[in-house]
Symmetry: C2
Subunit: 185 residues, 2 copies
DNA sequence: TATGATATTCTCAGTACTAAGATATATCGA
DNA sequence: TCGATATATCTTAGTACTGAGAATATCATA
């Protein structure tokens, strides 16, 4: 692929197909931004749509076992890594501190997880799978993985690896970026 | 990059760095799946993390103007495409039918959007920007686009385009895939 | 014109969180 | 030792939705 010659002043007008309903109020304000800005906006849109489309399948799959996406994420993390402090689980699955308390409470009520004291820090608690929780995740994980493989199958494994590599850098970059609200923009 | 020679029976064991807390319950069940399955799982994880990281910035940005992410998405769609039927907006921003009613109600209450009758179908309503809504979105869109460009800046514009292309196919494939719960798996 | 199937929006109850603050514990410097 | 600050979890109130179903209108076909 030839290297794309950039120009700071290039602009592009993105248009979408006309309203098939026949009653078009008109494309009021066509997107009139630089190529680079258009690429960034496009990436944000397709990133969100892809995530929603895939997560709909994952949520549907785990719901068949009476679990939400985040509950399953906790069980999977504990299964593959062993017992973890609540704060570690929280950072790993990206929920608020109140959220992790609520979620672990729910998993405890279901008999899948238990809290354990931390000997070196009395503020902290471990979350650990119960025998029942471990049996459940061991039973459903293989078909769960197969489902994800099927759902992302529009890309070849090599393309999946390439996409993952780009997304990893994208995610790390975004996580490290300063928030607009902290920059007085 | 050389082409990766695949083998159906290859397996990989993914390990993460040991618990820095010093109290490791042990990596209970290392991920022991085929290369292809590992690639799919990895893609799902980094896709979710990247989406969360970017959307945190976008939500933070629009919150400074008193808007949620979905409210902003509606305003932006109406600004760039003109008035749309509620169902069109719903499909575009991917919320439930109850959600779009609720969201448009809220935007109407804020004075940014108004409902208009559809002359050819008396069941349907248009959502259209008010003058105030149009002024707001025209004012904040440029800096919003600049923020997104900054947040996804870990990838070059060419990489952004490559990622967008892969994600578009991924999203379409996932949206077209049959749900597990409909397949009796 | 009936009739059934479909489409569009809306209502309402419920769910899965988030945000801010409270409590208890730990750490560190003076 | 004491105070200040930081950390880990939990509590509570609120928010942004989803999902199921109702009400209404349209369309296709006999």
């Amino acid at each position: 692929m030839p290297v794309h010659e950039k120009s700071e002043t290039d602009t592009v007008v993105l248009r979408e197909p006309a309203d098939s309903h026949g009653i078009v109020a008109g494309t009021a304000h066509p997107l009139d931004v630089s190529d680079d800005t258009a690429a960034a906006l496009k990436l944000w849109v397709v990133l969100s749509r892809a995530q929603v489309a895939v997560s709909a399948h994952v949520a549907d799959d785990v719901a068949r076992h009476g679990l939400t996406l985040t509950e399953f994420a906790i069980l999977e993390a504990l299964y593959h890594r062993g017992a973890m402090l609540l704060g570690e689980v929280q950072r790993r699955i990206l929920v608020s501190s109140g959220g992790i308390t609520f979620l672990v409470d729910r998993l405890v009520a279901k008999g899948l997880v238990e809290r354990q004291e931390c000997p070196s820090d009395r503020r902290a608690r471990y979350a650990a799978l119960t025998a029942e929780g471990e049996a459940l995740i061991a039973r459903i994980f293989p078909q769960h993985a197969a489902m994800i493989e099927r759902v992302v199958g529009a890309l070849s494994p090599e393309e999946q690896a390439a996409a993952a590599s780009l997304l990893k850098r994208l995610g790390h970059g975004a996580a490290a970026a300063e928030f607009s609200s902290a920059r007085g923009e």
